[in-house]
């Protein structure tokens, strides 16, 4: 495990309701700009990975589908699934392929076309990402419900309020309004969140990320390849930590934190030699599938002490100009959450932020040249924390 791994190309589809494209066309929308920015052609790719959870969309053999559509056959491929962290799981496989020396140029694609099924069907399916028998079959837990139980526990333990959670939605919509790829490009206020109907108490409609169609793509290269090609615009994967949680929430000790995310973060920090994340990172993308989990992520990532995450959002410390900008692309909340694409979309954002290519009004100050992404599958069932840098380790 010695090769340094760089991201040399990125592509991102428009996120939202994409009735205008089928699955393959949606994939190509992210793949084409990735090939172009990396200055490579499909024939140059040695191996490719697709992160997608599927089920709600028609095409299940997505690697084969894109092998055909994008001329990647007969190269090796793999489809990976880790619920809402499928994209980061795909990056994991691609990263390992390059790092181990088995491939020098790897394409990683994340895609989800969730709106090929009606909303009730998606609600039914996504509620099944925990323990099917003990949580879904008998108690009808939904995806918002799993995280709502964390929101409730957090409110009681630390005195946070529903208005505090709403502040996360307000921030992420503020930045979503500045991201042309976002599903919701509209600012909202706390009142909008508070007046929206309950989905799973204490979460209301505006506390929840939407059901989204979208794709994102990155191209990974070995240091050797970067040198050969003379790549100038690139970022490096400095480290990645991975954690897993129990299927049943009832097998866990605490509902104000995700143990798998803390575990993944500490691994990633150790390898990247980061001691004080807030001081050493220029910004982060965290998994705000709902509002409360963004606050919990601040704490799991040690941006603040346990119980102080709510102060960070109250004091607007996670806006650009604050202690650490978080989700300045709109996050899952406003940018949208096509679950297999989300982890890869976060990598695209790391690339844009570090290379100062973010759109007007949402470019963070880049000083240390390090950006973190935190992508969670299920409710801490899977957790990936990845640190990207302008300079290699």
């Amino acid at each position: 495990m010695s090769e340094n791994v760089a991201v040399i190309g990125v592509g991102h589809s428009k996120f939202g309701t994409r009735k205008d494209v089928n699955v393959a066309e949606l994939c190509w929308e992210a793949m084409k700009p990735a090939f172009e920015t990396a200055n490579v052609e499909p024939k140059d790719i040695e191996f490719f990975v697709v992160g997608t959870a599927g089920m709600w969309s028609s095409e299940q053999a997505v690697p084969a589908l894109v092998a055909e559509y994008a001329d990647l056959a007969p190269k090796g491929s793999m489809r990976v699934e880790a619920a809402c962290a499928s994209g980061s799981a795909a990056i994991r496989v691609g990263y390992q392929a390059v790092k181990s020396g088995m491939a020098d140029l790897v394409l990683v694609l994340g895609v989800e076309k969730m709106q090929e099924s009606p909303n009730p069907t998606v609600i039914e399916m996504i509620g099944r990402f925990g323990s099917y028998f003990w949580e879904f079959e008998n108690f009808g837990l939904t995806f918002p419900g799993y995280y709502a139980m964390h929101g409730t526990a957090y409110m009681l333990k630390y005195g946070a309020t529903e208005e505090d959670f709403a502040r996360v939605a307000v921030k992420n919509h503020y930045y979503g309004a500045r991201n042309p790829y976002a599903q919701f490009q509209r600012e909202i206020d706390i009142e909008t969140v508070m007046k929206s109907p309950y989905i799973a108490w204490p979460f209301k409609l505006y506390d929840c990320s939407p059901i989204t169609d979208g794709s994102a793509c990155i191209i990974l290269a070995s240091e050797k390849k970067v040198r050969e090609m003379g790549v100038e615009e690139k970022i490096w994967i400095l480290s990645q930590g991975v954690g897993t949680g129990t299927a049943n929430l009832s097998r866990r000790e605490d509902f104000t934190s995700l143990a798998s995310a803390r575990y993944a973060a500490e691994q990633a920090y150790k390898i990247a030699k980061i001691d004080e994340p807030v001081r050493e990172l220029d910004g982060a993308n965290v998994h705000d599938c709902f509002t409360a989990p963004e606050i919990i992520a601040y704490e799991d990532l040690r941006f603040c002490k346990r119980g102080e995450g709510v102060e960070l959002i109250r004091n607007e410390q996670t806006y650009i100009g604050g202690k650490i900008p978080v989700n300045v692309d709109g996050g899952l909340k406003a940018k949208g959450h096509p679950i297999g694409a989300t982890g890869v979309s976060q990598a695209v954002e790391a690339f844009k932020q570090l290379l100062r290519k973010a759109e007007k009004g949402r470019q963070a100050d880049i000083k240390s040249g390090k950006w973190l992404t935190h992508n969670v599958g299920g409710t801490g069932h899977y957790a990936y924390v990845t640190i990207y840098g302008l300079e290699k380790r």
Partner: protein, 158 residues
């Protein structure tokens, strides 16, 4: 909708309501219903019928709830079934307003997690008005009959 479209255009193709983009309306409907083995934990259901909440306990002392057949601590599978204390303390809850279609026959329901007095946690529905309780509330486990006709455990505030 598909039939109408076929009659009109010759294909199951209809324009999307909002964008007008043409959509092929799938003719192949899939219904999924799983068959799940409970052979390894059948005693749990026998216990529930008698109003008992059973967990598995390994010889090494480790208790499992939900019950599991095998112990990864000592690699043994000789489990004893033990009755759990049916009282505990509520740790968290949510009220599911937007329900999955397969739960549409139920009114919004409260899902809660409690820590039972013997240390294990349990997730289930909580009976009664969720506004009248908060974490810390003492609760009891009761066995009741669901609308579908089968027995299941639930939490009831004391």
């Amino acid at each position: 909708m598909e039939k109408e479209a076929i009659d009109k255009t010759g294909f199951p193709i209809v324009p999307d309501e909002k964008s007008g983009a043409l959509q092929w309306m799938d003719l192949r409907e899939l219904r999924i219903k799983y068959v799940i083995s409970v052979e390894g934990i059948k005693k749990f259901f026998e216990g529930l019928k008698e109003g008992k909440l059973l967990a598995t306990k390994c010889k090494c002392g480790r208790i499992f709830f939900p019950p599991q057949k095998d112990c990864p601590s000592c690699m043994k599978s000789e489990m004893e079934w033990v009755e759990l204390k049916k009282e505990g303390t509520l740790e968290t809850l949510t009220v599911i307003f937007v329900r999955p279609p397969s739960f549409s026959m139920h009114d919004p329901y409260t899902v809660a997690i409690a820590r039972l007095d013997d240390g294990v946690r349990i997730l289930s529905w909580l009976k009664g008005d969720p506004r009248a309780v908060k974490p810390g509330q003492r609760v009891r486990v009761e066995v009741s009959r669901r609308k579908e006709g089968h027995l299941m455990f639930e939490l009831v505030p004391i």
